[in-house]
């Protein structure tokens, strides 16, 4: 049995700090009032899986995929959203928790948050 394990540290980052391809779950909406309400209207509820796709050529805004659609947010608004990034030390691609997207977004695997840890690189065989 090949090993595969996810470590979800209780660590949060702002949505705009996610690197392209990185996945996470919405932890908290910091903004209150209309901005916070609108972000939730757009589907950014706590627990919602979200993935940063790519930044605009000028660096801002960034497009995210969540709840089956692609949403662009400016960094200043994305900073109002805390996410719990998923850190995966992946050894076996067949147990990818996101098999549905893996074929279409190949960069999703390599775009992991870089953690200075030996063996963090997915080479498909061993940890």
């Amino acid at each position: 049995m090949k090993s595969d394990f996810n470590i979800n540290l209780e660590m949060t980052v702002s949505l705009h700090e996610m690197i392209p391809g990185e996945r996470g779950k919405v932890a908290e909406i910091l903004a209150e009032g209309p901005v916070g309400r609108r972000l939730m209207d757009l589907g950014l509820l706590p627990g919602t899986p979200i993935q940063a796709l790519r930044a605009s050529p000028l660096g801002d805004p960034t497009v995210y995929e969540l709840r089956g659609y692609r949403l662009c947010l400016r960094n200043e608004d994305a900073a109002q959203v805390l996410v719990r990034p998923e850190i995966r030390f992946q050894a076996d691609a067949t147990t990818d928790p996101y098999p549905a997207d893996s074929a279409a977004t190949p960069d999703a695997k390599t775009g992991l948050r870089s953690v200075p840890s030996p063996g963090a690189k997915a080479d498909g065989n061993s940890v």
Binding site: L45, L58, L71, L73, R74, D101, T105
Partner: protein, 631 residues
């Protein structure tokens, strides 16, 4: 039970409700054809669309409610949906039943709005659009189980292909019979996430894969280098389209109007009636339809790229730059188009969802150097900037023209930034933009969108433009005074123009424009140029009794001296002031009419005219004194 239920023959009022990009408009068009009535809701810039349709023998009224993410409004414009539902808007009866529209691929997102709408507790059905795309992306959901989970009827359609529309029509005919939910969804946001998960699980939803084709196209279209190049190419095409490619059609319309006026003069005996028909009515109609080539071409490309999915990417690429002046990416095309003509440019602001961003864009669009300013610039530069003078390798004439072209957009950006910080500050609303999947556009939808914008212009702004050009004709014609018989025709025209209402107004405003160095003749020209800026040239030709608006007019204005002082009327400081005045002034009734129609008020056109007049007068005064100091 409502009264409609008691008498099934009464028209049933249905409200179409859904988020932006849900396919709501496509569905509305598929159901009503082209018979939609378009207007505005009172007090806001939100478009109101209603259509009547026959559902298997029963008449129905379909209200296309503005696209919304929530029934929890943040701005007065968003509140339109809730106010219509509450029956608070005069003349808009609250719909008896609601038709929810949701994109099947992003049902999960739409369930938030669905939960709120179900809380309204009135007959509701759900239309799922883009089921074909869901299947293509290997997603699926069981609509039968979704019906059970929500407790309301669910109909899948493919709006642009008309699939499922017949079943929908049958369902819509009898909202009295729709099933109603046993338990309403939770109102509390913290519980809604769990409710959404339970509904998605209940209908055995397989989330769609990322759209492979969209991913591939996007890797080019929003690529840092390739994407920027594509963006520039597309925007250049927009510019070329309305600046150059519309010109042949506009010249043809111009020629046809001239021919029609001539034919009329041949048929009607000379006199007031012939003058009215030829110079008033036909020229007035011509001044409306002359805009059609630009509007049709601009909106053909705009809607094509919108339907394909590119416009959202263009906004994504340029948003950062627009954010600097307090606007957003979607305002870019409108401002760019205004370089050709502010009328289609202002109409193109409809793609900007935030009402405040939209009004700021509308207010600064007329500052862009439109093509109607060019004949004025050309006349004055050719007459007063020496052809031979140069600055380094550049001709002075070209440099002046370049400066005039550059100053205006810089002013527009400054004004936009100031308005955004003062009069129209942000609502504290996040910038939101969806990137839809790329798709092949539907020909019928595209044609109906282009036709809709052309028709809206003719019907809504065209009538005001026609009226305004008739009023100007009256001012330039009455009171009529018979010129002495010994005068040549050109002199006779100049004689009667001087004694017309416009001539008198020109003399009356002379004290006000004298600080700029303008005399009454320029005043008449400024008044007449309200019809369209280039009319300034032909009016000056009339005032100076020139046979042609080119060489002889240039000579006439060069030679003109002020009888009181003996100085040249068109001195260098006056010409500098006049050019500056035309850079900034809102000398265009068509633009004023379009602003009035697009903002649904006379307040904004009055404000635009006022602030641009202040800029024009102040700028002209400054230009005059700088030139005086330099020469």
């Amino acid at each position: 039970m409502s009264t409609a239920a008691a008498t099934p023959s009464a028209p049933v009022r249905l409200g179409l409700i859904g988020s932006p990009n849900s396919g709501k408009t496509t569905l509305f068009n598929a159901l009503t054809g082209l018979r939609a009535k378009v207007g505005n809701y009172p007090g806001v810039t939100v478009e109101r669309r209603e259509g009547s349709l026959n559902l298997n023998g029963r008449d129905a009224q379909l209200i296309d409610l503005p696209g919304t993410y929530s029934l929890d409004p943040i701005s007065p414009d968003e509140a339109v949906v809730t106010r219509v539902l509450a029956g608070e808007i005069d003349g808009v009866a609250s719909p008896e039943a609601l038709v929810l529209v949701a994109d099947a691929c992003s049902l999960e997102r739409s369930l938030l709005l669905i939960a709120q709408v179900l809380g309204e507790d009135r007959p509701t059905c759900l239309v799922l659009t883009m089921m074909d795309e869901l299947a293509a992306r290997s997603g699926s959901l069981d609509t039968g189980r979704l019906e059970a989970a929500l407790g309301i009827p669910v109909v899948p359609v493919v709006g642009h292909k008309g699939l499922g529309v017949r079943q929908l029509r049958t369902l819509l005919a009898n909202p009295e019979n729709w099933s109603r939910p046993q338990i309403l969804p939770p109102r509390d946001r913290s519980e809604q996430a769990g409710w959404i998960d339970s509904v998605m699980a209940a209908c055995e939803a397989e989330r769609p894969h990322a759209h492979t084709i969209t991913e591939r196209i996007d890797s080019i279209v929003v690529h840092p280098i390739l994407g920027s190049m594509l963006f520039l190419a597309v925007m250049l095409t927009f510019f070329q389209l309305i600046f150059a490619w519309a010109t042949p059609a506009m010249d043809w319309i111009d020629g046809a109007v001239g021919t029609a006026a001539e034919i009329t003069r041949g048929l009607v005996p000379p006199g007031l009636l012939a003058d009215f028909l030829a110079d008033g009515l036909i020229v007035g109609v011509g001044s409306v339809i002359i805009f059609l080539p630009q509007i049709v071409l601009l909106f053909s490309l705009l809607y094509l790229l919108e339907d394909v999915g590119y416009m959202a990417r263009a906004a994504f690429v340029v948003d950062r730059a627009m954010a600097r002046i307090g606007l957003e990416g979607r305002a870019f095309v409108a401002l760019l188009s205004s370089f050709a003509c502010a009328v289609p440019g202002i109409m193109a602001t409809r793609t900007v969802p935030s009402p405040r961003d939209r009004i700021v864009t509308i207010l600064v669009a007329p500052l862009m150097t439109c093509s109607a300013r060019l004949p004025v610039y050309a006349l004055l530069i050719a007459a007063f900037v020496p052809q031979k003078s140069t600055l380094g390798p550049f001709g002075m004439q070209g440099l002046v023209l370049f400066a005039l072209y550059i100053v205006a957009p810089l002013a527009a950006m400054t004004v936009a930034a100031i308005l955004r910080r003062t009069l129209l500050p942000g609502e504290g609303m996040p910038f939101t933009l969806e990137l839809p999947s790329y798709r092949v556009p539907g020909l019928r939808l595209w044609l109906s969108q282009v036709w809709g914008s052309a028709w809206a212009f003719l019907r809504r702004a065209g009538t005001i433009i026609l009226l305004a050009s008739m009023v100007l004709w009256v001012l330039l014609t009455f009171p009529r005074s018979e010129a002495p018989a010994n005068l040549a025709p050109e002199q006779a025209a100049a004689y009667s123009l001087e004694r017309s209402a416009a001539g008198r107004i020109g003399k009356a405003i002379e004290p006000a424009i004298a600080p700029l160095g303008f005399d009454w003749k320029i005043g008449v020209g400024l008044l007449a140029s309200l019809a369209a800026r280039e009319v300034f040239v032909s009016t000056l030709a009339q005032v100076y009794a020139s046979e042609d608006p080119d060489a002889s007019l240039r000579a006439a204005i060069r030679a003109d001296t002020n009888p009181a002082t003996g100085e040249k009327v068109f001195s260098a400081p006056t010409v500098a002031a006049l050019l500056t005045f035309f850079v900034f002034a809102l000398q265009c009734t068509s633009t004023i009419a379009t602003i009035a129609r697009e903002t649904n008020s006379w307040r904004w056109p009055a404000f635009a005219f006022g602030y641009m007049l202040v800029l024009a007068y102040g700028g002209a005064l400054l230009a005059r004194h700088i030139t005086l100091a330099l020469t």
